[in-house]
Point group: D3
Chain length 245, copies 6
């Protein structure tokens, strides 16, 4: 089975790191293909960047040249472009925030999210509402660690995240921690060991849940809201996305 | 006062029509500047198209060349790119779905939305939840009239919308109708006269509400969630959006 | 256009002050007529007073002698009598809490309310739920400043409100402040300058939003829930409200 | 124990009928004192009338001349003046809609409300939300029977209500019926027998629940939101409500 | 009237104490019969114990040998087996958490729950959601006092509960306290006197509310969701629960 | 990896069928061990039966003799005993309703549940609320097919389910169907082929999601709400569940 793991930002180092984390999390027999959009911001730390990145995800999946695949994972915690990706895909598509929230709710009655920049907390909170986890998610906590510091995290960065997680568990009365950034994936095992509670990395969970859906022959519904896009003409750089009308 | 009215799709005919409707709705002394993105789909009838269009809106507003303005209106009923636009703007930004929902809730205890394609109803429903109008919005109704048929609507198109509105008012027990597409703006007065209830066109309401905010010196908050984007490098066609880091 | 601005309490000094604030906020060409009920409490700091005041608002608008007008604003933060006023009016009616919440949600993802007596916070919280702003309103904060102290506020009163607003912004992680009392209207500009975030006075916003609705020919729906009251006989002081049956 | 049963409208015939129904429902040893305001509408079939009636309820309870009592019941399905009444009372106060919803939720997983005028359904719906019964209340159904027709209901009126109740039970999948008007109290036993499901009259339930609270020494909280009104001056007919300042 | 008061745990001392508290709270003429299951845990301080206890409640009520009764009270704050008990009963069934929440919402706009073990707070929170009191319940507070310490509480235990209640009232801004354990029933009067706010013991309230329902001839709905169980064969210790098929 | 698949009812034929379905859905290398409680009802078609069955699930998992395993699946659509099972397990535990809802929300914006007896719909609706899927689940539909008819379903039973699913998809505007009974598992592939939309069997999905969690080293949180039960004495048949105190 081939899994497309899309890093919505354009940091090739992060794309490679996410690809490695995804491959490490995948079952034997699954091949991970890590890709990034042809355009967009080097990291995503706000709505503006996310909006450009979402188009990057959509354009990549809507392109005629997208490699054959069995499922897609959108590996940024804001799940940018998720609805568009599902519309243009017959294969299942999972966002890593979505997958992490689902998994956390199976392991604890309440969880805390620990993420990077405080200014991105609102994006996680909006997803929590959208997906229906208002009662499970007891807090979203920003650390103000820049995303790109996670490419090669120092010991002090790890210690900062651990401290924020401890504080969150205690203040929220939570039983599990969700890592709020794809860049934190490589730290997951280490943090789980130190904290003694389930620590959930959305990349890993999304990979395994995608395998689960594919393994059962389940695909994105093409009835109704996620039906394939209608024939349409596009202009500008997006011209190649035109669908014969 | 100068109002930027952005048509998120790339139909120049619709941009012009929306611009005329917005100018007609504006107060004396307000100048409407109707613009459209440099790239994107000719019309928006699904999530995929909306995602590309949202990037078009963001790129336009984030560009160094965006004309001076006092407020921005995003003139597509899905409010594509609203959060990104607010982040990159100091001036107020209004979506037409948002403005229409707010206005309708001031005039009736419950309203019905009448829109174009059935497949876009879900997008309106998600906005209803996001903005908190679950209790005011009693139904979202698709007519399956293609957006571009509204560029020069025939009598039968108008009759179809009227019939759908009557049916919606009756089934939902509503007191007002919200038009779920910027392309319906020119039909608003005619429908209101026929239906005998408030008929709300988001373009007109957004123009007037934007004037209201500007007139009072109210601007998008730059504290917290809508603070200006951080310095960032972009690649591909988006390179020009880079902000010195 | 003529706007009726109703002060629901019976302090003539406050009625005059609200009238001045409303006129200052109005567009050129709008005439503000500030009125108060013929009966009721001198200030509104609890449910009991609000209930009497709501009847005052209703009786004033339901009276045969109500002056001709294009819209009505109910200028007390509890929006007393709003539904009754809409039922008895064809013109639009806005409450200042309602208007302020709407405006704040257009400028920030979350706002804080700073009001007078702690005991009135519950009334603002109930309105937040009723109007659907549970996710936008992040806190309602009482200062225990008596309403009538706002008639001629000392420097220390202003400083107290400023301090409460700073504390609220920080604790709630909000991007805007809503002033929770019509009596605070004259302090709005000063507070906005000091705090550096949008500070929203419901009186001013309600005036401008009412102008917006009137300008577009939008009126209170008379279909269904806000249809004119049925013929009915009243007794006691309310006898003059009788409608021929 | 003495129970004040307030009919918020000014129909003396209905006050007497409600008083009889309340006395019939009361335990041995409870004395029912049925009262009505000194002013207000003959019946309540909309927001305007309800707002005047709420002031009638408040003025009656806030008056120095209110008879000694152990609890108060507000016997109109909109619970007009409930918060004001609690603020001004140390004894418990119950609304009949509130009491009926509570009781119904103890007897069935879902209930339907059958009420008089369709235009009053919205008032019941707002109470459902306010009290938190959105998931228990599966429908509010208007019959367009005028309230005063219930003073001496004909056989056909009873048949109409029965038919509406059957239809509601079936369409809503409900297990119980709540009668949405104090005037329906005398029909309760008859309807319960015919329908074979619990039929809940708020007057009777409120009487018994009030007895329950009084019997246990429970009184309205005077800490915080329902603390006694502050000293205040009133003008006009309300002058007698002034509290020494 | 005969009230069955079921203590879902198997502490005979606690069953006796709850029975005494219930009889003390009952009206003259009501006879309380306190029972406990034939099997199950000595106290309930978690989901596992509650699940076994719920079956104990169900088995007791579903047994052919259950004594004749007019209503049933489930006297453990998690309301274990409530739906099952209603299904198998024609008489009304009340849980003590349910009854306490209802009563508290009639006396204050917001209440706080003070309970025993912190680990059981989640069970109270789930009930709050299930019954619709999310907006009334402002906090659930654990004291980590073991349930069985309440059988014969020391002065320091009472002081601990009082302190927790004071802290809860202040932090939550609440007007009433709900005691979150049947074992706290004997302390209710004393705590109410000390705290000066309504203190609600679910056992007492459930007894009185049950009397209210019985007195009005209201019984559990047998239409739909609570219809009597279908004929069914059981095996193992539950064989005696078989219903002829 | 060894998966415990618990059939909460005591039909050995159904336990075997569910075991076969689970094994068929499992990945190579996973061993399914299908078990049933030692006591309880032959099928679960109401709250009473579910409550006894939940204790059966808990007792089985809490027994010293429970076989070694890596995860547990509770294979009845009401997820009986889920919280108890998690409390007593370190391994992950999934309910099939829970798993099915999660999967459906990843494949469509809205889904419909098609289940057996109408009287069990309320149990699915309560789970929808508990898990947070109110916005995704657009309807729960009963067919009044008895559970045990699914042991060896006739062609007409399959046709009935198919018809109900078509009707549900159309009325609800849904994009996917969730099968609301473990006994429907063997029909899943056939129904998906006929309906042309994702048809989700909770048994299969729970198996695969459990594998996913186990594969990533994720286990039930033992911090807080799901911490292992405290030492406790049990009496009656449950005596063997006692934990040394």
């Amino acid at each position: 089975m081939r899994l497309l793991v899309l890093n919505p930002n354009t940091s090739t180092a992060m794309t490679a790191a996410i690809g490695r984390a995804a491959q490490a999390a995948a079952s034997p027999g699954s091949e991970v293909l890590a890709l990034q959009p042809e355009f967009g911001p080097l990291s995503i730390e706000g709505h503006f960047e996310e909006t450009i990145a979402a188009a990057g995800v959509a354009a990549l999946l809507g392109s005629a040249a997208v490699p054959a695949h069995d499922a897609t994972i959108i590996a940024c915690f804001g799940d940018p472009g998720l609805d568009a990706a599902r519309e243009v895909s017959a294969a299942p598509v999972l966002g890593i925030a979505e997958a992490a929230f689902h998994a956390a709710s199976m392991l604890a009655t309440g969880f805390s999210v620990v993420t990077t920049m405080k200014r991105t907390c609102i994006m996680a909170e909006h997803l929590v509402q959208r997906y229906g986890f208002e009662r499970h998610c007891r807090g979203v906590h920003g650390t103000d660690i820049p995303v790109l510091n996670l490419e090669d995290p120092s010991a002090s960065t790890v210690a900062e995240i651990e401290a924020a997680a401890r504080e969150a568990l205690s203040r929220d009365g939570s039983g599990a921690v969700v890592l709020g950034c794809a860049g934190m994936a490589p730290l997951c095992a280490q943090l789980q060991e130190r904290l003694g509670v389930p620590v959930i990395d959305g990349v890993a969970v999304a990979v395994r849940f995608a395998e689960a859906l594919v393994g059962l022959g389940l695909r994105t519904s093409k009835r109704g809201d996620y039906a394939a896009p209608l024939p349409k003409r596009y202009v500008g750089w997006a011209e190649s996305l035109s669908r014969g009308a």
